[in-house]
Amino acid sequence: MVRFLTGLIVLLTTLTMPLTVWFSWEGLDVFKSLAREFSKEAGVKVNVVYIPKNAYEKLSIAWKAKAGVPDLILLKNDELGKVSGILQALKKPEGLTEKSLEAFTLNGKLLGIPIYSDIGGVFFYRGNTPNARSVEDLVRLFKGKKNALMIPIYGRYYFQTFQRAFGKNTDLYLKDESTEKAIEYILWLKKEVPYLPKDGRSAIGLFMRGDAKVLMFGSFLIPKFLKKHVDFGIMNPPFLEKAKSFISPNLDYKGFVVVKGHLTENVKEFLEFVSSEKFQEEFCKKLYKIPTNEKALEKLSRNPIFEKLEEYEKYGKPTPTDPNSWRYYEAVNAILRLMMRGVNDPRVLLEAGRKVVSGK
């Protein structure tokens, strides 16, 4: 009898307790409306909390303080390493791309359900289509034209793009030849195009004003361009002549993770819902995200913008899912800040990066 009552109480609590979901990045309104649909269908209230920045850090503190831990959190795959100890291993779902599932796998365990990815692309004004196939072509085309070409060479995410074009694999050390070549390449770009933007805002602002003609940036900007009626196009993925390879943009995956002890039936149902074709199609269509659901991806590929993004996706690689990725980013940051300051010696830059990566 006692067992039955306990079971009943647990069941009732599970059914009536709302799910708390921490959500970040773009698409809060779309997500909330889809979550409401889930609530209607499943009869479970979803409490969506917007975390503007670094949800993984906040999760870590909430866990340590045992205060306000959510059931599900939307994280980037490269943030997993810092909180992997408090995340629940999940069952591999059907119908999601292998690339995305791999990005959320750490030490053989699937720690999150990937939902979508953003990717870096090259945007241009339609009336001003550049006759270029490579980054070097763009440099030649816009050399001497102030603020016309916006390549965010000081962004740490783009550093990886160049590293991989020169043959870098997924490790986070900075000792290899490809890193050195990537640094030399960025220094060359800096020399050839001295006005390259030092911050993302300038790059975006100048492009949206029409001053910049070409912008290399994340696909998350597409809805903003459309809202502001920017008549843009997306270039084919450019070639890097010096690397004899296409650029390899970062596939910036985001997915839901579950905190240990929170994998209830409702949570499982919610995870099924967000990995479904219907959810992903609707969410990604409005926000121009690349879905991880294969069927949703196939459907959206018929849209010309998605078609282009998919081309980039073919060359793209996920950001590294490694517990030490934060140290690597810190090191890249140090290299780029020195470069901005005017340090142009690759050896000095590499040495600085290695010092941070090693932590000694």
Partner: protein, 601 residues
């Protein structure tokens, strides 16, 4: 009895938030803070901090003294010049200036004036603007304080000098400056410590400044404006509790050693012992041999120490400590010897006009930039093609109303509780002559900053008080009680004791206290206003203690719109619109409290 209990609660609040976190931090981190002193990041940051704070303080005091003296008879002009930095919250002004300086890829309002704007990669531009803003924003308080001290100088002495043919500049140098020297020395020591852990300006304006190869540490790049405050925030963001507490404890000890020179400033031997102890600690941190020389010099007569410091300064390649040392002894050495300035007097007029121009320009740039980002029709536009209110609509659609409500939820308890907790304490300090308590408040406030908030964060984490609004209000109350106590105490001092004695004879002690409270209604209302503004403008505590967008007060929400200097997609229009609404609400509350206080009076 109740009054004593309330006084005790007020004192406990201050001690709980300003001193106890340090003890708590020491208990949790053990002696690991000791190794922080020799860590590369701390050493570099401490050097940067001391240089930055000394330079800032010297400039601040020089300009404030000059301004107070030159405009002492033109108070309306003076008040107008310092109104903007006084009225607009620091975090708002700094973020607005970031837009005004850097604009788009360095093209901005300021670049049109031909000034350097590359605060991302040019170390000199970053440093220069940080110093300019820092001095400008602190100018109102210091100027008014110095003005008050100038008012205390007997007019007859200055009149006599004028009759003897002395110029205004000569009267300033030979009469006013020596009289002001002890006030300036006090402010110098206080501000040097305060600036050493600055956060808001170096971080919000430059993200910690520009780095160089030998400032790359295992904790990442240290920039030329990575003060101890910025470093502690950087460590805090890693959420490594032990590292966070070690660094914050080390910072607390370092600043405590600095402030001890102020505590014992009037006891020559003790002051010199603490000064040399501080230099010894510095030698341990930096290995800088000049700090040991400075320690020895502390015991020499002021003039010899001054001359020696002058010699050491260039030899040490303008290292921070000889500079700090030199400044202390300059303040001590304010000579009484008469200095003739002759034609230099005319020079002071040029300086005066320049300072007035710069201050007017600074105020104009703040207002213009804010209006530009709030009411333009295109994102990141530098030219106003069409006035538009769409950003106001956008920011309200973004749920900013909820953030305003959160600010009110934080501010209201502060507004109500702070004056109520402060009044009995102010009364006790005034009547029992416990002035040493005010000094203690000043010391505790001076050594508090980001590092203490890190400690409180750890404490709150244990007490499950993170991510909640009321605990934020409590921190603000602990910050604001000392300010209100000082303000109300000044008023109680001016009430003759006879009034109180007469009231005691009529109706006993409680009747006397009630009478005092009734007389002080305007002061209590101003205390409420101070409390409200502190709660309303609270920035650092909510930034560090709240996670959710739905809990953010307006200040943190505004910051989240523009983020760090190199953030990917700052939304300046939403920031501008939100800032205007924020200032609007403050104005309404200001007028409401003033009206209410008038009615109560």
């Amino acid at each position: 009895m109740i009054w004593w209990a309330i006084s005790l609660i007020s004192l406990s609040t201050i001690v709980f938030y300003k001193l106890f976190p340090f003890v708590f931090s020491l208990i949790l981190s053990g002696n690991s803070f000791f190794s922080v002193f020799s860590s590369e990041a701390f050493r570099i940051s401490a050097r940067i901090s001391v240089f930055w704070s000394t330079l800032d303080t010297v400039l601040l005091l020089s300009i404030a003294t000059f301004l107070a003296w030159s405009l002492r008879k033109k108070r309306t002009l003076l008040n107008t010049l310092i109104f903007i930095p006084w009225a607009v919250p620091v975090y708002l002004t700094v973020m607005t200036w970031r837009f005004a300086i850097y604009g788009l890829n360095g093209t901005s309002l300021i670049s049109h004036l031909g000034l350097p704007t590359d605060i991302i990669s040019d170390p000199i531009a970053a440093y220069m603007w940080a110093v300019v803003l820092s001095v400008w924003l602190d100018l109102p308080m210091i100027t008014l304080s110095i003005l008050h001290s100038i008012d205390d100088i007997p007019n007859e002495i200055m009149e006599a000098a004028r009759i003897d043919g002395a110029t205004e500049a000569e009267i300033f140098v030979n009469i006013a400056l020596p009289k002001l020297s002890s006030v300036l020395e006090g402010w110098f020591l206080i501000y040097v410590v305060r600036y050493a852990h600055s956060f808001t300006i170096p971080f919000l304006l430059t993200g910690g400044g520009v780095t160089k190869p030998n400032w790359i540490t295992h904790l990442g790049a240290i920039g030329n404006l990575t003060t101890l405050g910025v470093l502690n925030y950087k460590i805090f963001e890693n959420y490594d509790m032990k590292q966070m507490l070690s660094f914050s404890s080390a910072t607390y000890i370092f600043l405590g050693a600095m402030i001890s020179v102020w505590i014992f400033r009037k006891r020559k031997i003790l002051r010199n012992i603490f000064l040399s102890a501080f230099f010894a600690l510095w030698f341990f941190i930096s290995g800088d041999v000049f700090s040991i020389i400075s320690a020895v010099l502390s015991f020499l007569p002021a003039k010899i120490a001054f001359i020696s410091a002058l010699i050491i300064l260039p030899i040490s390649k303008f290292e921070s400590f000889p500079l700090y040392f030199l400044m202390i002894f300059t303040a001590l050495l304010m000579s009484r010897r008469t200095i003739r300035l002759g034609k230099l007097s005319k020079f002071s007029t040029v300086v005066k006009i320049s300072i007035i121009t710069v201050l007017s320009l600074a105020a104009a740039i703040t207002v213009l930039s804010l209006m530009m980002v709030a009411f333009t029709d295109y994102p990141d536009s530098l030219t106003v093609s069409r006035v538009s209110f769409s950003s106001i609509k956008d920011v309200l659609n973004d749920g900013y109303g909820k953030n305003i409500l959160n600010s009110l939820i934080i501010a209201l308890p502060v507004m109500v509780l702070s004056p109520l907790l402060s009044f009995p304490l102010a009364y006790s300090i005034s009547r029992k002559k416990l002035d040493w308590m005010l000094q203690m408040f000043l010391v505790l406030r001076t050594v508090s900053g980001i590092h203490v908030l890190s400690m409180i964060f750890a404490m709150y984490a244990k007490m499950k008080m993170i991510n909640s609004l009321l605990p934020v209000s409590l921190i603000v109350i602990s910050n604001v009680i000392p300010q209100i106590v000082v303000f109300i105490k000044g008023y109680i001092d001016s009430i003759p004791k006879e009034y109180e004695e007469a009231a005691i004879l009529e109706g006993g002690r409680s009747a006397a206290k009630k009478l005092l409270m009734r007389i002080a209604v305007p002061q209590i209302s101003v205390g409420s206003l101070i409390g409200f503004m502190a709660g309303w403008n609270a920035f650092l505590a909510p930034l560090m203690l709240l996670f959710n967008d739905s809990l953010y007060p307006a200040s943190v929400k505004l910051y989240s719109y523009v983020g760090n200097l190199t953030d990917l997609y700052p939304r300046w229009n939403l920031f501008g619109a939100g800032a205007v609404l924020n200032l609007g609400v403050s104005l309404v509350v200001f007028v409401a409290i003033k009206t209410l206080s008038g009615m109560l009076k």
